[in-house]
Symmetry: D2
Subunit: 372 residues, 4 copies
């Protein structure tokens, strides 16, 4: 059974490889009547497209999204929304020498082991380009959430050892304009400058850096998540780990809970203006797999870009040890372009669970009370 | 849409609350002809049951599993395997004062927000007791894996700051007998003794500790995992985050990749005895969401047990601030009993993807080659 | 991938064989707060149990349902509802000679071909007894529908050539008391008496009869059904064909449409008391896979009971031609006991689609109108 | 939850409306290495396209399929196969007067009731044009089946009262060339001529005819189908009922079983050339939901085309009674163009269950026999 679909009430199915006719996504289960346009979707895609930023690959792909179905007179019709982005900038020749060589840190060997046959051009289906479809789908999910007052914002919280300084930004409420204003999607311009310097040095050394993306969801009401396997954190875990290069996902305090004590880690509830609130948010907004009304806090650890220009030792499909020198266009760090992918996958997961939860309660008919 | 099922080819559906008639699980999609017995399943359940260990709650539940269907003359029939564990030791009175009070760190508030109605006895569906069904289902998955030469082993790799010493055990090949021989499921007896001392101190202070569980899967062939949303790490991410109290999941180097460089993090391939091998395993056995033939390495961070005996501030369902003193039976740390849950959820996820992958390749009929 | 689950928002998973410990069902996705009791479920099960009627097998199984989880203080909690019916009357000896012989008209040969191994006692998983779990699950669905004013009623509309006379009953509104008052679940006592006479004659001849069940759903609002694969009629088609021995499913005029003309078959809409109504209902309440507000009319054709006492020619698992004489307890007709199965499967399918449809529309926020 | 996907191991997701940019389908789960080309897919699409036949609408749509992903160097890669057919011949003006009027026999009213908003052009998503995506997906399924020696063939077995004469063709083995040679997809040229005459008369009377399609699957091994809800007939039932205008689905003897006796209806098994065979095939190749090795026989009853040119009474979205005269291009009968849809949906359902069944059996390791 294949795995190209995500979500249960709101479902996206992505398709496409790095070097085929294009890539795309079908979103099924979107409510009818929601305002959606190509222009709106494009604002999300523009955040992940290459070419626009200092540390992104110099390819100049237009990445223009086209809505092929499911939207009529500016609104969703409730039927599947098909969106496509044509592949326009393909230089297959760049990849020719990779047809038979397994790049370290890449999925090449796994794909061959699994399928016995692969489209080696540009990483094929395992290319980061596949995420463009997710971003388009997640933009629709974000619009659904917007109608419920829920907002999702991701940012780069580490490039190697360089982290934004909490004295210069609010980790739970970062400034979208600052994030958009620097090439590294960081919420602190000074840290971004320092990280840029670090990346330049790594590029000189034909190397790459790991990174971390933090995602904040505000406005989620308490009660979202489906016990026991589709808990909010479990679905987010799948959503974020499904993004290439993610090696860790944390909710709230994440790995720090290992050394914490219960008396420190428990968040006290209290009444605030007539509503249930928490004095702290170590839990990252999720308790027992269900949202507790606080901000949801997710962190994803991205490994360094595996495509580096240094010569590396590897093997080929004939079972020979070979030396490999990768050429072409590669970002020195993954997080800055992946931030919008984390954001939209998070939006999609939350929107799906929000819709799924709409039938959690029976809106009791008093006449039913006397039933056996 | 509810979330009580996990898996797509091999599917488990769990049911039951802490204080109902019992808890159970239905496993659908298990191959016919596999040897399975209650005695075998019981060996797994005995590893999570309370009462048998120093730092587990003093309840004495028999936790006897009964196979109700799907096994005939000692073998699976291919039809659903229903298993049940009766609840025998219920002291509902212990929990009476929790009917209307939301415990910090627990799902009580979320359940009420979601369902408007909840079985408050012993945490109801959000009780750790729910995992007994998963363990029984995972034992069947482990038997499937055994037939393919795949072995799964979990152990506690941290209780608070206390960690086993890599000089005293092999992190990729821990000794099951050592793990079974101490009350904390640690692969290093000395560390276990130190951790026990730490827990005793915390219990005196009416407090609890966080913990970490590591899980190793050996013998997985390259090629397991379904791009792009059901990648091996994505499915494991969902599986492990669906276990209560998990706040982080890491694969391979996990969060350490953030500060790593590509030249360090990439694992070189080389030929070893005619097979593809890797000189390092920073990737934890998964590249691009597909197994690469190395050991799979997963780590889960468990928060400290939220039920502590200290008085805590919280609110009740009438919207009043109240002080809460929890009584009853509670482990001071979650990892030691949860290790077998991590192990069986991992086994289930891997077995499901293994079976799903069996139709990845067309076993080509040469006659097809001439088709248009 | 196994097939023991049905439904997407409201999901039932059945388990159990004719001769194991029992049979059961887990219902996941039921709204919280719905009044449900064992006594209520039992009223449905009593309609399918053997022993109570003239033309049912003389087994005296209690078929007592036990709710194991998901109901607290008389109401559903939103968590999985597990129900079990113990097998109490098993005479395995009756079936011993069938361990290796494939009964004509039965699934024996198919199960062996598929699984290579089977529980031959009483038909194992392919026994009609499996439907008891469905009936229990469908009773819960019927309760959900009741809260929306939707009612489902099935009845036997043919035993062989004997059909109820439309002059003596209303096909769209049959009298439940008449149906309950005769052993054949027919809505016309005179026809029931005639059918009983026909069956007695067949039994003397060691033979059995085919039958037809009609099911009427009233009160379904327009707009239920999910294009394009989960249309209301498509889901009903799967639901009813999944019942053993069904060889045809018809909606509305059914097979009669083949010889009809468009001018006859189209149902004219008109306004009636301010609501859209139809002058005829050839469509059986479903147009384009979506309910149109009229009564839904479904018919299922059941083949004659394949277990007949006459000697039959067949083969055994050693590949030998053999003569077979079936003994034991077998109904001479399937429809009368299957009517409640058709009714509850229909209820389950409609309830699932009703819940799924609750997020079809965006309840527009006027502020969204200015969005790009 | 939306319903635009079909299949579990092999999954198709269709998208598109009659008058958007195009229609398409994504096929996920196809094995890697299968030879597939646009030219091959086109041969299937050409059988349903309008314009090529006497009794099809005179639109001249090219219906050219384009494979956008998942095929590399003439073979499937195991990743999603996206296919698109652009809408090239749209005369929206033809449908303008239908924006607010509910056509009798159509889904217009249901869509409005469900979604509150609809793309009224050409029937939108409920247009028969949606099935082009299914045909493309089913062509891939047919290629999978071909590799296993399984062949699927549909034909028109009735246009109104006109049926092919069994003396002039073999119902279980009709001649594809005869079927392709007449405009009505009938396996008997004389009957086709008679049916053509009947249709001409109806068209003069501004009326339309019902029809029946029969589908035969040969070469299916015994053992295909997943008890209990995804039985082969249950999945076929859903597949065929999901095609617009189908009002009845029959397997084998279908509705005729109601008046049959068990002694007539049971098919005797016997050994033939060392294999299990059946002397008759009343069951239509399916027993207990599992294939029995005989030909699978399915019949679908199609209602008359609801779009007729006679004036009809109906209502509009303002709740007024109105008279409606439909103009435009409409076939006088549905079966001839729908036959290939029945054929490809059948192929898809059988291929999905074939792949799903590949893990039904444990290929026993003798060493497992001693396990507890």
């Amino acid at each position: 059974m294949a795995g190209s679909s995500f979500g249960k009430q709101l479902v996206m199915t992505t398709w496409g490889e790095s070097h085929g006719a294009g890539i795309g996504v079908v979103v099924d289960g979107c409510q009818a009547g929601l305002p959606v346009s190509e222009k709106y979707i494009q604002t999300y895609l523009d955040r992940r497209k290459p070419g626009g930023r200092d540390f992104a690959t110099p390819r100049q792909e237009a990445d223009r999204v086209r809505i092929l179905s499911g939207v009529f007179e500016g609104r969703t019709t409730g039927t599947p929304i098909s969106m496509m982005i044509e592949n326009t900038s393909q230089r297959s020749g760049d990849y020719g020498n990779l047809a038979t060589t397994y790049r370290p840190g890449h999925a090449d060997y796994g794909y061959d082991a699994k399928y016995g046959f692969r489209d080696y051009r540009g990483g094929g289906r395992s290319s980061g380009r596949e995420t463009a479809g997710r971003v388009a789908a997640g933009a629709i999910a974000a619009r659904i959430l917007e109608a419920y007052g829920i907002r999702v914002q991701a940012y780069v919280s580490a490039v190697g050892h360089v982290r934004p300084d909490p004295k210069r930004f609010d980790p739970l409420n970062p400034d979208p304009e600052v994030i958009a204003a620097n090439a590294l999607s960081m919420p602190d311009g000074e840290a971004a400058a320092e990280a840029a310097e670090y990346l330049r040095k790594l590029m000189e050394e034909q190397d790459s850096s790991g990174s971390e993306v933090t995602c904040i969801v505000t406005g989620v009401p308490a009660g979202i998540g489906e016990p026991v396997f589709d808990k909010l954190d479990a679905v987010l875990g799948q959503a974020i780990f499904s993004i290439g290069a993610v090696k860790a996902v944390e909710i709230g305090d994440g790995t720090a809970v290992v050394e914490a004590r219960g008396s420190e880690n428990n968040d006290s509830f209290y009444m605030k203006d007539g509503a249930v609130a928490k004095r702290t948010n170590h839990a990252g907004g999720i308790l027992g797999g269900i949202s507790d009304g606080s901000e949801i806090v997710i962190r994803a650890s991205f490994k360094p870009t595996p495509s580096i220009f240094r010569e590396q030792q590897t093997v080929n499909s004939s079972g020979e040890d070979v030396a490999l020198s990768i050429r072409g266009r590669h970002d020195p760090v993954i997080g800055p372009r992946a931030a919008v992918v984390v954001e939209t996958m998070t939006a999609f997961a939350v929107a799906d669970l929000l819709l799924r939860g709409q039938s959690s309660r029976f809106d009791g008919d008093p006449g039913m009370n006397d039933r056996i």
